[in-house]
Symmetry: C2
Subunit: 210 residues, 2 copies
DNA sequence: GGGCCCGTGGAGGTCAAGATCGGTGTCCAG
DNA sequence: CTGGACACCGATCTTGACCTCCACGGGCCC
């Protein structure tokens, strides 16, 4: 009776799995990897721990499934944004919007990717680095096409811009979205575009001052 | 005999403490917070666990001591760098150099600040956020002095540049310092300066496109 | 030169959390 | 109607790590 209470329904495997992923994401996002226990996730999902282990072999396995989902989502958004135009300035605009959209997406899931407290695990680190590398690659291609710098320099600049987008978007969330989203995007896109356009530095590292 | 082996020396308290901090930093940096045990640190320092607890009340206490040290060091470097000149462009240059110097400092200690896997702890988060806020404040003051944007916008731009510096410097280390340090700094400083100078966006969020 | 005292070390307590077993109820086929 | 199988759950096991207790040895004072 009690055991057959309200929530006690038999779900198809795939649906149950999706529900578990959703619950796990919520808890991981709010408390981080280390601070969340499997009990927390099970409680959140309204199931018992064994069912968790029937769908995921370990806590790390569950976490990696989530991480993969978010990471591929971000990369897809970036790629799509940059494919949307042929004008490089507009590309930067769209890419910046993609970052803000991603960070602004439901549930602050971006924390899984940008603020993981499990980067020391090789599998997690591999995914995070791969994702960052893909973002950098997309942008550095554009930089190389638009300027005269070589691959190493372009990647460094691209990394800087990726970092700028990431950190600025996170702060935008943390500060309660004080600046309107469109304006924030415009601001950061302008910063990025002015930063990278008109490279190379007029003949090497020395930038002409005025 | 064995117990009075080579390393068995009585150190003054402050010296012992410094040694423990050094050992702890090495282990924390290489393995992260959660993956390092107090035994590891004690072994690394060549002492036993009780002495560790005579100097630090808990693992977190020890970690916070290290974190405070590195964070104040970074902030001091930034402040000093920006006080070194009155020309805002040169300030950005020096600040960027300060970031690279910090990240380039011995032992990759920057991981404690930038890649902590303990940000979910309130005390740790408080320190990291305060440090980031101080860096942002220093830069946003300069931005506001040099451009026409208000505080919120200036802080967003400053956050972006802080993120750019941080992520680019970290990647510079991770990629094996392929680009010479001075050139990397010059590259990123130019990106930053071109990004923020000549704001405001010609009258609001809409940048005149063509 | 001997006793006291403080710093040191190994061994252990406790507890949280990841990972797993016997029992149970429900659904379906014949 | 009935028997079986599947999915689920409470309770448990174990491991590992943070944090203290009992023996030991060298320095200080009389």
């Amino acid at each position: 009776m009690n055991s057959a209470g309200e929530g006690r329904v038999r779900l198809p495997r795939s649906e149950r799995r999706a529900q578990l992923l959703q619950a796990a994401q919520e808890v991981f996002v709010s408390r981080g990897y280390h601070a969340t226990s499997m009990d927390d996730i099970a409680d959140r999902a309204g199931v018992s721990k064994p069912v968790l282990y029937q769908h995921f072999t370990s806590k790390l396995d569950l976490y990696l499934a989530l991480l993969d989902g978010r990471a591929t989502e971000l990369v897809a958004r970036i790629r799509e944004a940059m494919d949307r135009s042929e004008d490089n300035k507009e590309r930067v605009n769209q890419a910046m919007r993609a970052y803000f959209d991603f960070v602004d997406a439901q549930g602050e899931a971006f924390r899984l990717v940008f603020e993981s407290d499990q980067r020391n695990d090789p599998a997690v680190a591999e995914r995070v680095l791969r994702m960052e590398a893909e973002c950098v690659a997309a942008l550095s291609d554009t930089i190389m096409a638009d300027t005269q710098v070589d691959k190493d320099r372009a990647e460094m600049l691209a990394t800087g811009l990726v970092g700028a987008a990431e950190v600025a978007a996170r702060k935008w969330i943390a500060s309660g979205r004080v600046v309107p989203k469109d304006e924030a995007i415009q601001l950061m896109a302008t910063l990025a575009w002015r930063g990278i356009s008109h490279f190379p530095l007029e003949g090497g590292a020395e930038s002409g001052n005025e």
